[in-house]
Amino acid sequence: MKNFETEVAIIGAGSAGLCAGIQAANAGAKVMIFDENHLPGGQLFKQIHKFFGSREHRAGIRGYEIGKQLLDEVEKSGADVHLNSVVYGIFDGNTLGVVEGDNHYSVKAKKIIIASGGKENYLPFKGSTLPGVMGAGAAQTMVNVNRVLPGKEVIMVGSGNVGLIVSYQLMQAGANVKAIVEAAPSIGGYGVHASKICRAGVPIKVRHTVLEAYGENEVEGAVVAELDENWNVVPGSEQNIACDTICLAVGLNPMSELAYIAGCEMTYIPLLGGHVPMHDENLETTVPGIYVAGDVTGVEEASTAMEEGNLAGISVARALGLINDEEGKEIADNFRNRMLNLRSGAFGEGRRIAKATQVEAFNEFQAKEGAK
């Protein structure tokens, strides 16, 4: 088995990993980025809506266009992107095990950034394993990347931003979204997205849930019912809706397994999707030299994933002594401020607090370790 060495190894070439690679390589580090996909970009190329935020967050630009910009920047930066390359483990806190196509090798790195992203949550109900029940992100991938409709008559479960955005994108692709079903008493996502959906005539049924998906070998319809204040089904409110596809937009969870097996201390924060690695304000975990960025350290959005990637990239460059400290601190503070801007307002505030809790958990853990 071959062994390679590098200064910075990054797992994942999505929004976070690419930004991290660009920052670190531009600062002069030797960077290797690994992604198991055959193309870089992670989830970005399926995001065809315009982003929010300010100009430095690339607001007003569509996700897939941002993806193209990042690929261009990563190429110029000199970071080395390895595709079809699965990282299956991190050993001794500094060595990756990689399977690239049919080749198996290890990579010893001075700094590691885990940017492995997240995956969609599942929701169990009768018939929920039938073909035709899928993640909303899966439907988004099908229509925007593979350019195939997963179905024509769709029910969306969940009215958060993913549910709203993907409903709209399914309609743009030619599907008929029959209803968005939301168990909570109010719509979960941004008003701009919700009003677009409402204008298109799609009913958003709050305080409703899907009880059952039925069909012979595939989805042929769903039973939807109303919920009372205690989240119990209102008897007699059940209705049949014919459909061939049921999309679940019920949240995402971080793919933090690699961090966990590398020995990073974890903390449980439901708002961020579950178990996330503790980290300091530079995104370094409790294992020195291992950093995290993007959905893996708390599910948010592509824009926050990019800023976290930027911060992780600058942080490793600083730790390697590639930037003078004064300048490095200024750049890092700037990225942190940009994240604070993204984590503000009615929707961002909760995430700002949750992310602060994550850093607090890190500080508490270190204090306890120090006292031992």
Partner: protein, 112 residues
């Protein structure tokens, strides 16, 4: 949806129109299926109206895609003789053979 009905999204209000698509042929249980170069096996099957990809080990229930990004393994099929291949992250190649997978897909006796 009928098997004949194409689901390909050629024109799109935001994404560029799909022009000059290079076509390849894959075989689903020996039946030829027209696919678009570069697409995932799962999407080529979906375009042909096939959404049930395998049967589970114990109860023989049908499964199709769930995550479409290689995470859940619901979409596994036998591809060019290799069982347990995730068809959402395996890309079409001209002449590829795809089979519905029963159970583990190795030896159907095992799952009975």
């Amino acid at each position: 949806m009928g098997e004949k009905e194409q689901r390909r999204i050629i024109e799109h209000p935001i994404l560029p129109e799909l022009k000059d698509i290079k076509k390849v042929t894959i075989y689903y249980d020996d039946k030829p299926i027209e696919a678009m170069e570069g697409e995932a096996v799962a999407s080529a099957l979906m375009n042909a109206g096939i959404r049930s990809f395998r049967k589970t080990v114990k109860t023989h229930e049908p499964r199709g895609i769930f995550c479409a990004i290689g995470r859940c393994t619901d979409c596994m099929m036998i591809v060019d003789g290799k069982p347990n291949t995730r068809t959402c992250v395996t890309y079409v190649v001209d002449g590829m053979r795809v089979q519905n997978q029963n159970g583990f897909g190795i030896d159907s006796e095992v799952v009975k």
